[in-house]
Point group: C2
Chain length 192, copies 2
Amino acid sequence: MKALKEKILQEGRLIDNHILKVDCFLNHQLDPQMIQAIGNEFASRFADEGITRILTIESSGIAVAIMAGLALGVPVVFARKKKPVTLEEQVYHSEVYSFTKKEQVDIFVSNDFMEHTDRVLIIDDFLARGQAALGLMDIVRQSGASLAGIGIVIEKGFQDGGRILREKGIRLESLAIIESMSCEGIIFSENA
Amino acid sequence: MKALKEKILQEGRLIDNHILKVDCFLNHQLDPQMIQAIGNEFASRFADEGITRILTIESSGIAVAIMAGLALGVPVVFARKKKPVTLEEQVYHSEVYSFTKKEQVDIFVSNDFMEHTDRVLIIDDFLARGQAALGLMDIVRQSGASLAGIGIVIEKGFQDGGRILREKGIRLESLAIIESMSCEGIIFSENA
C-alpha cells in the first residue's frame, strides 16, 4: 500500500535500529484519514471472502479494525487482555507471549461474539513473531468459525511471523512488509 | 441521541441491577455503523469549538474517538495504561482510580502529541465517578492545552462524575444519561 509506505518513511522513527516507532499515526496518536484508508484497503482485499466478523486485539488493532468493519459492514470484536468484570464465564481464552515486553498475556473473547457459522478476518497493526495472530487464530478455532485470513498493517519481514503463518496456508495480507531497517533507512519488500 | 438510547434498550443488559453491559456494540464487540453515528454526533456537537486534537483512553474509547476524529479532521491520541517500551522519557503522566476494578492505573501520553496551542476534546465511552475524565483533564492541563469539552457515550447519571465535571464549568456532552436502572428497566434522563 503505497500511501502507507510513504507515511512510514515520512513519519516513522527507528529506535536502536530494531524498533520502528509509528506512534504518530498508528500506535498512540491516530491519523483518522490514514487509518480509514488502511481499513478500506483490508475491506477491498478481503471483499470476496464472505467475512461476517472481524477479530482484533486491544489496543492498537481497534482503530484499523473498526474502519475495516465499517467498510465491510460487519461487527468487530476485540480480544481483551484482562477479563473484565462484565465478561461472564463463557469465554474463549488463549495466551500470547510478547517478546517485546517479555511477558505472557491471557486474551479473552466472549462466546457470544464468535460462532461456528462465522467467517472471520483477523486484523492487527504489527506482525513480528506472530504470537498475537496465533492466539487470535486459536480463539477462532475454539469457536468453530472459519478463518478467512489475516490483515496486518506492518509486517516485520525480517522476523519469522509471516513465514510461520504463510506455511500454514493462511491468507496473509500485509500492507507494508519491512525487509530491513538500519541507520541507512527502511527497506520495504517488493511483495506488499 | 435517540438511536443510541434505542440501541441500549434493545441490546444492553443489566447485571445485578448495577452494571450495564453494552459489550455487544460498544465495549467488546463494536457495531461500526453505530460507532460512526456516535462519532458524528460528537463532531456535530463540538463543531464550533475549534478542536485540534481528541484525547481518549485505551481501550473502549478508541473506536468512538477515531470516528469523531475522522468527522472533525483532527488527530486522535489515546492515553496508554502502561508505558510502552517505545514511549520515550518525555511523557505526561496521571493516575486513574477504577472503582469497578478497585485498582489505580497510571496513564501516559507522549509530550509529542499534546501541545500548549491545542484545543482538546476528551472522549470516553462511560462516565460514572469521573476518574478517567479527571485523569485525562490533568494531562491536558500539564500540556498547557485548552480543554474544549468532554464527550461521553453513556453517563451514569446516578453516580457523581457528571455533577463533578459540570460544577467545574466544563462543557460535558453525554449522548445518553441513565437516571436509574433496575429490574424494572433502564430510565434515561431527559437532559440528553
